[in-house]
């Protein structure tokens, strides 16, 4: 059952991701991406990281994708501009294919040392919070500065001068 769930979620992830990049309609792309994020959230839950799963949904589905949808709805009066030239398309598929095969081959060669079937860790809110506000307190505070600057920058950009 676990295997089945993993396969179902993975299939959903891959299919929706493909749909993101292949849909002609940007709104479909956004909806597919939301679906993709939900399936990834499912993976997170099954990897015993429920907090991240929920945060993932809140941040991505709740905020980021709304922003995308917003922009698309406001901006896309004309139809989508479509894909690049077929030469570039074939080149891209080729290059990415080579990349993927190479990475998988590198994994098979054992260049990447992977643990197998280890015990999982409890991704509870309190333990994660302890790591986040203990070991990573300073990066966390710095990220708030990043946010602040982003807010200021976006407001400045958004203003019609």
């Amino acid at each position: 059952m676990i295997l089945g769930l993993f396969c179902f979620l993975s299939l959903l992830t891959i299919m929706s991701a493909l749909s993101v990049i292949l849909s002609r309609n940007p709104v479909y792309s956004v909806l597919s991406l939301i679906l993709c994020f939900f399936s990834i959230a499912g993976h997170y839950i099954l990897l015993s990281a429920p907090f991240l799963a929920v945060v993932h949904i809140i941040v991505y589905a709740g905020a980021i994708m709304v922003l995308f949808l917003f922009v698309i709805m406001l901006m896309m009066r004309t139809s989508d501009v479509g894909l690049t030239s077929w030469v570039k398309r074939i080149g891209s598929f080729f290059v990415v294919g080579v990349l993927g095969v190479t990475i998988v081959a590198l994994m098979q060669r054992g260049t990447l040392v992977l643990p197998r079937y280890l015990a999982s860790v409890e991704g509870s809110v309190s333990s994660l919070g302890r790591v986040l506000f203990g070991q990573y307190a300073i990066p966390f505070e710095l990220s708030t500065i990043l946010f602040l600057s982003a807010v200021v920058g976006v407001v400045m950009l958004g203003k019609k001068s």
């Binding site: 909806l31 429920p50 949904i57 809140i58 917003f70």
Partner: protein
Amino acid sequence: MLDLFFIIQKLILVSAVLAITLVIAMYTTYAERKLAAFFQDRVGPNRAGPFGILQPLADGLKFMFKEAFIPANANKFLFVLGPSISMIAACMACGVIPWGSSLMIMGHEVPLQIADLNVGVLYLFGVVSLGVYGIMIGGWASNNKYALLSTIRASSQMISYEIAMGIALIALTLSTGTLSLKEIVSLQHGGHWNVWVQPLGFIIFIICAFAETNRMPFDLPECETELVGGYHTEYSGMQLGFYLFAEYINMFVSSTVMAALYFGGFNFPFLNSLGLSHNLVTLLGVGVFFAKIFALMFFFIWIRWTIPRFRYDQLMRLGWKVLMPLAIFNMLVTAVLILL
């Protein structure tokens, strides 16, 4: 065998919760009309059945049998998807509400909660943030500029008020120390309601809840005087019914959440001093919980017929310049008090 019992138990619970939710949503429409009539010194619906008690059923039947018209230039798939998402998102929140403590059935302890997530509060928050998609997709798919404008209003409004709501929730979780709804409710045992601890947080939360459910005085997205019919201008039949229904379900869920988070949920004073059996106490608790929910829903309706609509810029100013600073202040004060 344990798994089977577990699945059956959960299935029954889910069906029950869904059924109750839908029925309550149905009768909320009736209640609203009756109360509106009361406020406005009218009679209200009184033809279908005694006191018009069958009126919601009649309305539902009418919705079902009317033609679900889809405009020619609309995106048909998304047009249908919109109300469905609204409905689903509204119902999803019920999954983590602890309706009662637990019942002892055949030696098994059956908790009256579909899922006790340890991140229940966050889950609620996430589900609430999904509600906006139904409106956005439906509004955009209608290919109607009023619907689109309403969509933009709705999404801006919901995202803006989500922030204040989230910060109010953070303050609440700071004081309770857990994200699990069941634990939050249990901690309010014996009259220690969170509303006494977090009065400002509750006020912020309820204002945001009004905004999130697009109820008066924040019903700008369906502001008839400006936008024809809001985001569901082009809708008819059961699809429109879904939207309207979703609104009432949202109202119900919001009241439920507030009752659970701030008013002690199924706890009531002198709970353990009555000397009743466990199951009886639980059932009594469920009753008390619903009483609290109905009181809050009455408040929703009461406000709707009392307070006029905000202007859009006023709404945004309230959200960003009043509620958010207040919520942050509330959070800081809470944090400092806990630290002390």
